[in-house]
Symmetry: C2
Subunit: 497 residues, 2 copies
């Protein structure tokens, strides 16, 4: 076989790369420049499949000739059918209206491809992780040089990893022999969580061999924050039932309403119980960088671990999750392994910067680079200003909707998430839930605004998450009007039947 | 608070985005055009940290003014200090010399930010996943419409997920109550794996509450493939000890040497034992797309699940892992959860395309897009030709090194991984190991070639992984010469002492 790779060489042609990039940049630039109010262009999956298949080459025997127009059509379809995170009409989820520069740096990483779990594989990402850890720890307050931070692929994986480290510390026999206490008559492992904790935490109990039935639910107050006083009781009751709560999980920004559990008090509760305190700050940890909002996480320096999604309120592409441990050695405790092709038996100067032994991932995206670059280029103020604006906007939206007699507001927002219901007089309790679902689907289908929904105490509520600083109170008023119009129409139709 | 977000608006300026992109594209273009032979420019982490810190703004009170030169310097440092996957001197790891177009599409995803686990969040990625699943299943051979595929963040996570699905099928009590058999006197869960299995698999036993001590090691032959006959015995012996092997793991391309376990025979062994057969094809599943090489995975249609890293030999940016299940319902079995803010109680037309209930991740990168786009634009031939070239090159390299009297070749390559040792006459057994480590470090430090090392039967070997079609046999000869020069020098120094 001779080196018959000319067609391959053409695929890797740097000039072709430039042309492809220019095509993409032109389309992205006009996408970013489009500040029209729009939600989601929801397409039937089968129709979209047809459209996608129509763009595919049917040639299988040799490498197809490149067709720049087809590439442009693919990019156009990709951009158009996505959630419009940069439009003021986007208010629906925790996905970021990312900073465009973050995308540019991610692009560099995609081309040079430095999957970073080991220093030699991604030197600058490894160093940037350490720098960002130090920068952000200034707002956490742990002892410099003693804590650890690893990046990982999403908040769910970070929560799982922290719970694993906690489990291994309290129940080392599980790792080695799968022994969870029942064999010896000892207490069984359990995790204490809020009613509103993210599903990845309860699911982790199933994954890690703890058992979903060993979840101890801690009651919440009207603001949907864990009640520390009741937490003590709940943990004591669980221990009386033969459980050992090895980890208490607090949320810094719950997913449903963005509530902040009292970390400071829960740290004391966890310490008294001899348990690890994990803080799921996937959504809300970013508030730490704001001098005005940091107080929401008071006591975070007493936590054992913290999940922090930079792809939410640090406005970088997903995933970029930071998992912090107060004690660096705990980070190693999550995983225990040696593989000669990646781990060196004779650690060198670089070993200390390797992250692979602290990650579930072996190959990992150099996800820190967009975050570090934004921080390097713009400084902390970029994040603080955007976060403060979004939280302020949420308060404004709350005032707007609270003043409307045909709406109800089941909570006061603590961050950038607001839930409310359209409920004019005369709507019976049993119809409220279904009405919100119908409204949400019609708003989504209308294509002007993108919002989500959540069940609170078993009843659906409409949910907005402000992630785009180009959204204003005026836009929210327009949404409220649209909801009222849709809701009133639905009620008229129903009473007309 | 008024809308004081003018500085923010400047950060999101579409023209600035275009300028930043042009800076990046120009640097990446010249990087891709540089075909010089080079390995790794290994830098002291502290020196690199200094360089990185020098590029950071010291402004913290307001958003810093943008400095395009600083951005260029960051990109330059990022590109220069990375593994040079597009250089012919890169022979060291399984990271891809990615197709540049794949990076361009990833870039689009980074800017429009459509984290895709749910249809509404990433419509085209959801559809593209389904299309690629069907396209690739043509080479697996499962029943269309009955199998499932999910994308996930790396092979380690895919292996964990498959083992979790297998565990839940065989031991449902673990998910619910953490019961692993000991309580009831029943058999305890165990996993049977090759001596050479990837560390993520054995580690998963620790994570999932099975226990690392419940790993049953299956012996390998001289080609380092699992011996199916001995596997039967080993599993029977384990069951006699009170274990229940619920999963047999075969590797399609082991990490150390790229060996392919006999999937066809192991499928029979697993079926007889009533166990799930998982194939870790992270490295080698891509050979399925080649008519010439597909036979290495004979019997794959009898497996229950398959891990396939497209970020290895499908040449897209990491991570892009495909996890296939023969039976779609098993994919749901890995995780069991409901969360009202993401899962709809009233499934609509889109629900069938949601992937979130089959993934550990909640927010997930739309990682299929680069792969689907390459497949759409170039067809299968792109992948088949590159893979065939790399495997052919590996055979050529094997012939080259086998003909050298001062080298030894402990295995015959089956894919694109080759291990060998520099061992001229007179080197005692006990010095061989250390000599290879020294050679590898000096080759790496020399900056011309990037290679890795692995322990085979406890003795280090040099390891090359051919991932770049721009590498030729001539380049490998140059590496052999360099190794000989370094090795001979090391031996002279030693005997001189």
């Amino acid at each position: 076989m001779t080196l018959r790779n000319e067609p391959l060489t053409a695929v890797f042609d740097p000039r072709l790369f430039r042309e492809n990039s220019q095509t993409a940049v032109a389309q992205l630039e006009s996408h970013l420049a489009d500040l029209s109010i729009r939600g989601l262009e929801l397409t039937d999956p089968l129709v979209l499949s047809e459209a996608a298949r129509a763009l595919m080459t049917t040639e299988h025997q040799s490498i197809a000739r490149f067709d720049e127009k087809k590439l442009a059509a693919i990019i156009e379809l990709y951009v158009r059918t996505g959630i419009q995170v940069h439009s003021p009409g986007y208010m629906g989820r925790q996905f970021s209206g990312t900073v465009p520069l973050a995308g540019v740096i991610d692009f560099v990483g995609s081309v040079v491809n430095q999957p970073s779990s080991f220093y030699e594989a991604g030197q600058l990402p490894s160093v940037a992780e350490r720098i960002m850890a130090d920068e952000l720890n200034r707002f956490i307050g742990w002892e410099p040089g003693r804590f650890a931070m690893v990046t990982t692929s999403g908040g769910s994986l970070a929560n799982l990893t922290a719970l694993l480290a906690a489990r291994n510390r309290a129940f080392p026999g599980i790792w080695a022999r799968g022994e969870t206490g029942g064999e010896t008559g000892g207490p069984r492992p359990a995790i204490a969580v809020s009613e509103d904790v993210h599903y990845s935490v309860t699911r982790a109990a199933g994954v890690l061999g703890v058992g979903e039935a060993r979840i101890v639910r801690l009651p919440v107050n009207r603001r949907r924050q864990i009640r520390a006083d009741r937490a003590r009781e709940a943990i004591a009751a669980a221990e009386a039932r033969g459980l050992k709560v090895f980890c208490v999980v607090a949320s810094a920004g719950t997913t449903p309403v963005g509530a902040f559990d009292p970390v400071d008090e829960l740290a004391d509760v966890a310490a008294e119980a001899g348990a690890w305190l994990h803080v799921d700050g996937a959504h809300g940890a970013s508030l730490l960088v704001s001098d005005r909002l940091r107080r929401k996480l008071r006591g975070i320096d007493k936590a054992d671990s913290l999940t922090w999604d930079a792809h939410k309120m640090m406005f970088v592409p997903a995933p970029c999750t930071l998992l912090f441990y107060r004690h660096a050695h705990e980070a190693i405790g999550a995983f225990r392994q040696r593989a000669s092709y990646v781990f060196d038996e004779e650690p060198d100067a670089y070993h200390d910067f390797d992250g692979g032994d602290k990650n579930l991932e072996c190959t990992k995206r150099p996800m820190i680079m967009p975050l570090w670059t934004l921080w390097a280029m713009y400084g902390r103020a970029l994040f603080a200003e955007k976060i403060e604006y979004l939280c302020h906007l949420t308060e404004e939206a709350h005032r707007i909707v609270a003043a409307e007699p045909d709406f109800e507001t089941p909570h006061s927002p603590e961050a950038n998430i607001l839930c409310f219901r359209y409920r004019p007089g005369g709507v019976e309790d049993e119809h409220v839930h279904h009405l919100q679902l119908q409204i949400r689907n019609q708003v989504r289908g209308g294509g002007r605004f993108f919002i989500s929904k959540v069940d609170l105490d078993g009843v659906a509520a409409l949910r907005v998450v402000f992630m785009n600083h180009q959204t204003t109170g005026e836009h929210f008023r327009m949404l409220v009007d649209e909801i009222r119009r849709i809701g009133a129409h639905l009620l008229t139709k129903r009473s007309g039947r």
